[in-house]
Amino acid sequence: MDGVKLHGVWASPFSTRVIWALKLKGIPFDYVEEDLSNKSASLLRYNPVHKKIPVLVHGGRPVCESMVIVEYLEEAWPQFPLLPSDPHERAVARFWVKFIEDKSLNVWIAGRSAGEEQEKPMRDSSEMLAILEEHGPNKGKKFFGGDSINIVDIAFGGVAYWMRVIEEVSGGKMFDAAKLPRLNAWMANFESSPVIAKNLPDRGKLRDYFVPVRAKILSSSTSK
């Protein structure tokens, strides 16, 4: 049987998304922890275009980009479906995955900036949350996937959990729980669900990881 290997970084929301999909589907895999300051020859060979994690290697063939990997896993292993079977509902789920991917760039920008420069990405992140709160699929249900976790939950999970770490590390507020009751409930449901709960990096450790990363970025951007 073709082996599955995941190249990732423990602190990365992107490789964590792939771990969630693998674990939910019960797919056995080997994990390679990459050092981003010293990327392995394998990683560079498997992702020559972006040179980034995560990379999933299945039977020697690489797949890159976290949500492309999740769609790949969905097609290669049909158990525990992460997409609905109806084509229109699939299109709706994919729409929200793309929305989350495109808009969450602001969250990462907020994490890398300070002061005035941070204001717009923070506002745009809050706007993303407001739209998800109002329009996100399966309102009134436990997850964006309805009664069980699906691809939209995985996509957003990679943003929501890290957003709170970024808030702590960088100051500023993106997630106003009082204004986002639905998303607040969603976070509790998602983070306490069995597979996810066992595969969430420790908040404290994430904070300790990102503090120096942020400091380095900020000091290199001001020393120009």
């Binding site: 890159c64 980009e65 769609e71 290669a76 299109a91």
Partner: protein, 224 residues
């Protein structure tokens, strides 16, 4: 029961054109609803409340937004003339490159078109790097989809008309036959394919439109 297929588009949107090509290739009967970018209809806003943009495909009353997602929906719903390959890994690669096309290639070429001086030089250099990767992807193939036009050809098809428009207006050399012989040949093969050829928006109208857009962009960035 007769199927109702409606496409909300503008005369020039390269994203809507992707859907036109897919519908035409599959021989699907559909109605076009032409939208005015400056004055979008309430109907369109109702069908795409998040972005209020074209294209929107309406199938039996249910709307789908985001061109690449619409392509996947069309491929899943109408099985003739398959757009995506069958093999999951090949599908993942097609999705990866389509994302690369939108996120990196389009982004850098657009920046080169609307900027000046050092910023333009940097954007052009970046665009060339990205185009080189696409060039390598074409090796041994007539189309990105192999012998026939597929999802990735449609996703990258905007290169076949818009690059000429940008080059004509700006005098820049973006995609030439010397540096990118395979891409250059692909542009011609794709443009000349019957279904594709019949759908191009007017070249002269595009020139007028993009001259105006470029001036607007220049005016906006110089007034900050």
């Amino acid at each position: 029961m007769a199927e109702e297929v409606k496409l909300f588009r503008t005369w020039s949107s390269p994203f809507a054109l992707r859907v036109v090509w897919a519908l035409q290739l599959k021989g699907i009967q559909y109605e076009t609803v032409l939208e005015d970018v400056a004055k979008k209809s309430d109907v369109l806003r109702g069908y795409n409340p998040v972005y209020k943009k074209v294209p929107v495909l309406l199938h039996n009353g249910r709307p789908i937004s985001e061109s690449l997602i619409i392509l996947e929906y069309v491929d899943e719903t109408w099985k003739q003339h398959s757009l995506l390959p069958q093999d999951p890994h090949a599908r993942a690669m097609a999705r990866f490159w389509a994302k690369f096309g939108d996120d990196k290639v389009m982004q850098s070429i657009w920046t080169a078109f609307v900027s000046e001086g050092k910023e333009q030089e940097a954007a052009l250099a970046e665009a060339s790097e990205h185009l080189q990767k696409l060039e390598e992807e074409l090796r041994g193939k007539k189309f990105f989809g192999g012998d026939n036009i597929g999802y990735l050809d449609i996703a990258l098809g905007w290169l076949a008309n818009l690059v000429r428009v940008f080059e004509e207006i700006s005098g820049l050399r973006v995609l030439d036959g010397e540096r990118f012989p395979l891409l250059f040949a692909w542009l011609k093969e794709f443009s000349d394919a019957p279904v594709i050829r019949d759908c191009w928006p007017s070249h002269d109208k595009l020139i007028t439109k993009f001259i105006a857009l470029r001036q607007l962009h220049g005016a906006q960035s110089s007034s900050t």
